[in-house]
Every structure is written in C-alpha cells, then in structure tokens.
C-alpha cells in the first residue's frame, strides 16, 4: 500500500528532516514519536518548554492538564503564553501556541486540576507522563497513578536557582517486581513537613532555571519513546535502562549539574512493592487524601 511505502507525508519529511537523519531517531524513531502520546501535567514553567519541544518533535498526541489561568507573573518563565492570554486558561493558551508551531500534533485539553478520582482515567490513555506540577500532593498522586498503570514518569521540579530531574518507574514493571525502576515514594517514602515546602510563588524562580528542566523533560520523553528504535533497527545490543539517576541543577554552583545515583525500588514501598497499599480502587474512590497526607500550612510560615 502507498502508506507503507511513504509512512510519513512529504511535509513531515521536511519538517522533521534534521531528526530523521540522526541514527538515534531515524524514520523508525519518527514513527514511534508519531504513534506516541505524552501527558503533560501542569502547563507552567516546566510544562511550557516541555510541550514546545515535544510538539516540535512530532509526538502524535500531547495531552495538557492544568486548572489554572495565565497570570502576568507567570510570563517571565512560562514562555508559551503571552501578554494577551493573561486571564485565559493555561491549557487553552498553550494550545493556541502549540498548534501554530506544529498543526500535525493532536492536542488534548484537560482544563482542570488532576484529582485522585480522575487520575487513572486520564493517565491511562498516554504512553509517558511528565510531572510538571508544583506541589508534593500532586507529585505523590501522579507517581502512584503511573505505578498502577505501568507508565514511565519524567518528573522535574525547580525553585529559586535550583532544579531537579528524575525518570521514575522506568522500566515500568508491574507492582511487586523489584526489577522495575523506583517510584517517587521509593525515593521519598514520607512527605516533607508542610512547613518546609516552598512554592515558586513564595520562594521565587529564575526563568531559565525552570526552563532548562522543562526542556530536559522533553528530551527524556523523546529518548524513552525512541529507545526501542535504537535497539531494534540499529542492531545495537539492547542495553539495560540507565540506572535511576537524579540530575541536580544549581545555577550559581560550579559545576552547575550533578548526576546522583538513586536507589532501586524500595522493598516496602507503599506504591510499587509487593506490600503496596495504593490500589486503583483506593485512588478512584478518593480514600487516599493526598492533600492531607502532605499536610498544609499557611505560606507565611514556610521556609
């Protein structure tokens, strides 16, 4: 059939040409991207650059979830939005910009906050999830849902002059299989005391700091989605997944970047171990109260 012979159309060969000629991507990698779907949870300082580069690269479907509206104080770092979109929902604002960058990508809008009740049904349609949110509660929720659904999770965060990046639950083996990658709870079994948690609103954030972390999330997602290509089509020996790593960024340190080797899955992890207490039912019923689990505190007392 003609679609077999020319699996991409002419404009796609042109648009993605600079990726297509790279052995790490190639035609097979581009097809993997085209068939893939990525969910970006949070369309702020991390989600904006992550979405731009994923949409640019030709990922077939990109989902955007965020319940916030664009504010003027977002614009120094949330570079997909514009002054004219202040007051608009972040998801709608991003959709306009992303569609004008690459109309070939199907954008799915979820203009509301991710909840424990909705997490499973929203995340299950995607291949990879990017955590671009800004609270401990959402980080535990997204990780738990990814573990239950067997989805790899690219998690980043930033504050002031620092950033952090981890690829979690990768490889995404079943709950109870110790050879899977660690989840967020493996690394942080207990939430931090609420009074130690500082948001970007309270602590401040330098735009390029969160920007770098968001772009790196897009990169890690592209690497995950095209990994198979490398092994199957380039006749490269299937390497084991990179060991779990935390990338630490600190804009005013020298060196600016450090890679830290993380632990494997935790034997008694509440989410991914054989002793897991986090179940799809508990999540859907709302019996796991993430906000309460993480506690709350008035911003004035925060560090």
């Amino acid at each position: 059939s003609p679609s077999r012979k020319w699996p991409l159309d002419k404009t796609e060969y042109k648009r993605y040409g600079r990726q297509l000629i790279m052995p790490e991507i190639g035609l097979q990698g581009q097809l993997c991207l085209k068939e893939a779907s990525v969910l970006i949870v949070g369309v702020g300082g991390l989600g904006c650059p992550a979405a731009a580069y994923l949409v640019g690269s030709g990922v077939g479907t990109v989902g955007l979830i965020d319940g916030d509206i664009v504010e003027e104080s977002n614009l120094h770092r949330q570079v997909l939005h514009s002054t004219a979109s202040v007051g608009m929902s972040k998801v709608d604002s991003a959709r306009v910009a992303l569609n004008s960058l690459n109309p070939n990508v199907r954008l799915v809008a979820h203009p509301s906050r991710l909840t424990s009740e909705s997490a499973i049904s929203i995340l299950q349609d995607y291949d990879v999830v990017l955590d671009c949110t800004d609270t401990p509660a959402s980080r535990y929720l997204i990780s738990d849902a990814c573990v239950l659904l067997g989805k790899p999770l690219v998690s980043a965060s930033a504050l002031r002059t620092d950033g952090q990046l981890m690829v979690l639950n990768y490889p995404p083996r079943p709950v109870g299989d110790p050879s899977g990658g660690p989840c967020y709870r493996c690394v942080f079994p207990k939430p931090p005391p609420a009074e130690s948690v500082v948001s970007c609103g309270d602590g401040g954030i330098l735009g390029p700091v969160v920007g770098v972390m968001g772009v790196l999330q897009a990169l890690e997602a592209i690497k995950l989605l095209t990994r198979q290509t490398n092994e199957v089509f380039r006749h490269v020996e299937p390497k084991p997944a990179d060991p779990p790593t935390l990338l630490i960024f600190s804009a005013y340190s020298n060196p600016m970047f450090r890679s830290i080797r993380l632990r494997n899955r935790r034997q008694k992890c509440a989410a991914c171990s054989a002793q897991s207490s986090v179940t799809p039912e508990a999540l859907k019923s709302g019996s796991l109260d993430y906000v309460q689990f993480c506690g709350t505190i008035s911003p004035i007392n925060a560090l």
Binding site: G42, G44, G45, L46, G47, D131, C132, T133, D134, T135, P136, R139, A156, S157, A158, L159, R160, D162, G163, Q164, V187, F188, P189, K190, P191, P192, P193, E195, S196, V197, V198, S199, C200, G203, I205, V210, L246, I248, S250, S253, R258, S259, I260, R261, L262, R263, L303
Partner: protein
C-alpha cells in the same frame, strides 16, 4: 591502622538547605574519627554534629526530625543515594563528600 583523630570531609547543601547554614553551599570540615561511644563516626553522628555546631537557623526541625534527617531530604554519599551505602550507619571515610539535597516541588 588509622590513628588520626579527625576525618577531613566535604559537606554540601542543595535545594534550599544552604539557607539553614548561613547560605553556605559547601563546607570543608573535619569530624572526630571516633565519637563518645568509641565507635567510628557515621552519618547519624555527622547529622547531629551539623545540627548542633554548624546550623545557624533556629528551626532545627527543618533539618532533623525524630532523630534523623527530616523527610524530603536526600542524603548522598559520594554521588550516590545513602540507601546504597548503609544509610545512617555508613562509617565516614577520609575525603568523603556528603551532599544533603532538599526536594523541590516548584514548577
């Protein structure tokens, strides 16, 4: 074999913890090789030592809670998660780099 009284090490803070230590990101210090119980100094000892002697911020529970590093702080021994090295019981060696990282949640 080793009769030295102190161990020179580097301690680093990241992710906002430096604010608890007078905004210092990197400290070079020496700790006693053996502590009062005549056991070799380990991470548990170091944490208490930092809290008692070097932390400037009065909010000790931002660093130590229930006798150990508070939740949300990763301890990294020579660029690896301390859980790979024996956690609090890891005996500190000459030249070790101990990094305390607070998780960030902003985005």
């Amino acid at each position: 074999m080793a009769t030295d009284d102190t161990i020179p090490i580097t301690v680093e803070f990241s992710g906002g913890l430096e604010l608890l230590f007078a905004n210092q990101r990197k400290l070079t210090l020496s700790i006693p090789t053996y502590n009062e119980n005549r056991t070799r100094s380990n991470i548990a000892f170091l944490v208490q030592h930092l809290c008692d002697n070097l932390m400037k911020d009065p909010r000790k529970d931002m660093f130590v809670l229930d006798g150990t590093v508070r939740p949300g702080i990763l301890v990294l021994i020579n660029e690896a998660d301390w859980e790979l090295e024996g956690e609090e019981k890891y005996e500190i060696q000459k030249g070790d780099n101990i990094l305390f990282v607070s998780t960030l949640h902003g985005g």
